[in-house]
């Protein structure tokens, strides 16, 4: 758990994305720090290993589709898209500032963003729509939806999960960023659901587990989905909220942060430390 990815190139990409996230949280509006850092390695695995996407042609009809259902981690998605070449990383400096298109929840005007998300519990049904569209078109497309574990308290997640299983949508893959914390406390203390994987299995999904900070392991698991023909797949990724920034790692208080200059400097120092950790 929490071992840096074995691939030094991807480790460097992840570090840059985390730096963008920390910088965004030092902007005028602050940002969702903890949940962006917990899913950073998942996004790196997706965009740099798994997804069949072309930054030069974001709307290519044969592309794989990704939806960030936990839309509050938008800054991690924007940073990932920028590092992947969808737009100039220099634009990230405008996050939260008037005139920027980088809203705190994903917006369609940002290249690579399929549909806006952020009201929790919407992404899975949207993803099912994309998956069914691929099936109707005869396109060999996979659709990936990243959810938070707190998000699983929304009933609409389970409505969509049931429909997806009934539709045998095996080109649909969900990933749960299981960082164990939500806004005011531990997920398991507030509303669960626990155990996450067994809940999904009960809804007819094929389930696997992974260390969500092991980019190689995440990519390897996602590469082979669907794992059971006729069933949608869910990868339960164990993560640490605030991963990479020790002052907020594993802490409820890191959910949303507006970093003062001294705290920003401390967070950046923490990032360097995490990046240099053997």
């Amino acid at each position: 758990m929490n071992a840096p990815t074995a691939d030094p190139v991807l480790a460097d990409v992840a570090l840059r994305i985390r730096r963008h996230v920390v910088d965004a949280c030092a902007g005028p509006e602050g940002g969702h720090l903890g949940g962006s850092l917990s899913c950073t390695d998942l996004l790196v695995a997706l965009y740099f290993r798994v997804l069949r996407v072309d930054p030069a042609d974001p709307d290519h009809p044969d592309r794989d589709v990704f939806l960030l259902s936990k839309g509050h981690a938008a800054i991690a998605l924007y940073a990932t898209l920028a590092e992947r070449g969808f737009f100039d990383p220099a634009e990230l400096a405008g996050y939260g500032r008037p005139g920027s298109r980088l809203m705190a929840h994903p917006v369609r005007t940002v290249p690579g963003v399929e549909l806006p998300t952020g009201s929790l519990g919407h992404g899975l049904a949207l993803g099912l729509g994309f998956a069914l569209a691929g099936r109707l078109s005869g396109v060999d497309r996979r659709t990936f939806v990243l959810l938070g574990d707190g998000e699983l308290q929304e009933g609409s997640v389970w409505e969509a999960a049931l429909v997806a299983a009934a539709q045998r949508a095996d080109r649909l893959v969900a990933i749960v960023d299981a960082n164990g914390l939500q806004l005011t406390g531990a997920v398991e203390d507030i509303g669960g659901p626990q155990p996450i994987g067994e809940r999904w299995a009960g809804f007819g999904w094929a389930v696997r587990y992974v260390d969500g900070h092991d980019t190689d392991a995440v990519a390897a698991a996602l590469d082979t989905a669907p794992w059971t023909p006729g069933r949608p797949s869910v990868l339960v990724a164990r993560t640490v909220k605030g991963q990479g920034v020790p002052m907020v790692a594993g802490k409820v208080a890191g959910h949303y942060a507006t970093l003062s200059p001294p705290l920003h400097a401390r967070a950046v120092r923490g990032l360097r430390g995490a990046g240099e950790r053997p």
Binding site: G121, H122, A125, G127, L136, S137, S156, L162
Partner: protein
């Protein structure tokens, strides 16, 4: 002929919609029919388009999200549920997934108003037009009869954004002489100008036409406008068609808040000075009595006699109707 001589149409608007959609799917390969186990398509023969009919089960929130994902991928989904579920249960998905993205999803909502009759308030939709009218990008159409249903389905088929069509449940009376609707236009049906009735939906339009018959017989010159498109609402035509009128009366199968009466009030208020407005709508309470659609509406003053009474009361405060709908006199 007078409106009292009309008879029920041979099919309901929703049956006409089903047949229209089957024909459309045969010619438009982009069209997908998403169902929520409504039963409307039981036994329907989709032919080569069978793969484009998907019954998602009783899951209206998922329905709207799936429709958005399909529409974002270039498909033209027609989603099927009752108005009560489209505009209340699933409305966050309608708002964010469909309206926010301006996606070409057609929400075909049956059981609008009190069409569900004795199924009760759990299945009535008396707020749907208010809810949908508040959302940007959504076109709202309310056909009054079968020819109007197919005309408005044709007119909305190629819209680039979302559309909400409010249909009923059972067959409602034919409305001979009603001009074929042109989407977005407030259309004059009867010529009078002293009193102007503005109506939307099958039974309210029937009530307005019947009221015009009664008022004409009493020497009160009355006109009727058909408001089949609630959004975008044809404000300029309303102002022009009611200029010089003594009284404007809206008639709708909806709570007064946010529906046709509100749309008309907004336009007339901003164009003031103008005619006085009376809104005939379902009173601000849940429909707690038992009966079919026509009975429930008549009980609340939404029929020819009720509308004519409201007009006469408004014109003459000493009229026996006392300025109140006769529903208030019903225990």
């Amino acid at each position: 002929m007078t409106i009292a001589e009309t008879r029920p149409a041979p099919v309901s608007a929703r049956t006409a919609y089903r047949d229209w959609l089957l024909a459309r799917m045969a010619t438009d390969p982009r069209v997908v029919c998403l169902d929520t186990d409504t039963g409307l398509f039981t036994g329907a023969d989709f032919g080569p388009a069978t793969g484009r009919y998907l019954n998602l089960g009783i899951a209206e929130h998922a329905l709207m999200g799936v429709a958005a994902g399909l529409a974002a991928s270039g498909w033209r989904p027609y989603v099927n549920t009752m108005a009560a579920f489209a505009a209340a249960r699933a409305v966050e998905a309608v708002k964010i997934d469909i309206a926010y993205n301006a996606l070409p999803v057609r929400i075909v909502a049956t059981h609008g108003g009190v069409a569900a009759g004795h199924l009760g308030p759990t299945h009535h939709a008396l707020e749907d037009l208010a809810v949908l009218r508040a959302l940007p990008n959504v076109t709202i159409a309310v056909p009054a009869d079968v020819p109007g249903t197919t005309a408005l389905l044709d007119a909305t088929a190629e819209l680039p954004g979302p559309a909400y069509l409010r249909l009923g449940r059972k067959a409602t009376p034919e409305l001979p002489g009603l001009p074929v609707p042109r989407l977005g236009e407030l259309q004059r049906v009867r010529p009078g100008r002293r009193v102007v009735l503005v109506a939307t939906g099958p039974l309210p339009v029937l009530a307005a036409l019947g009221a015009e018959d009664l008022l004409a017989a009493a020497g009160i010159e009355t006109g009727v406008l058909h408001a089949h498109t609630l959004k975008p609402f044809d404000g300029p035509a309303l102002v022009a068609q009611t200029a010089g009128a003594e009284l404007v009366v809206t008639v709708e199968e909806h709570w007064a808040a946010g529906g046709l009466g509100s749309a008309v009030a907004e336009v007339l208020a901003e164009a003031a000075p103008g005619p006085r407005l009376v809104r005939v709508a379902v009173p601000d309470e849940f429909v707690g009595t038992v009966g079919g659609q026509e009975h429930l509406l008549a009980e609340r003053g939404i029929d020819a006699v009720g509308v004519a009474g409201r007009v006469r009361a408004a014109l003459d405060p000493y009229h026996p109707a006392g300025g109140q709908p006769h529903a208030k006199e019903t225990p």
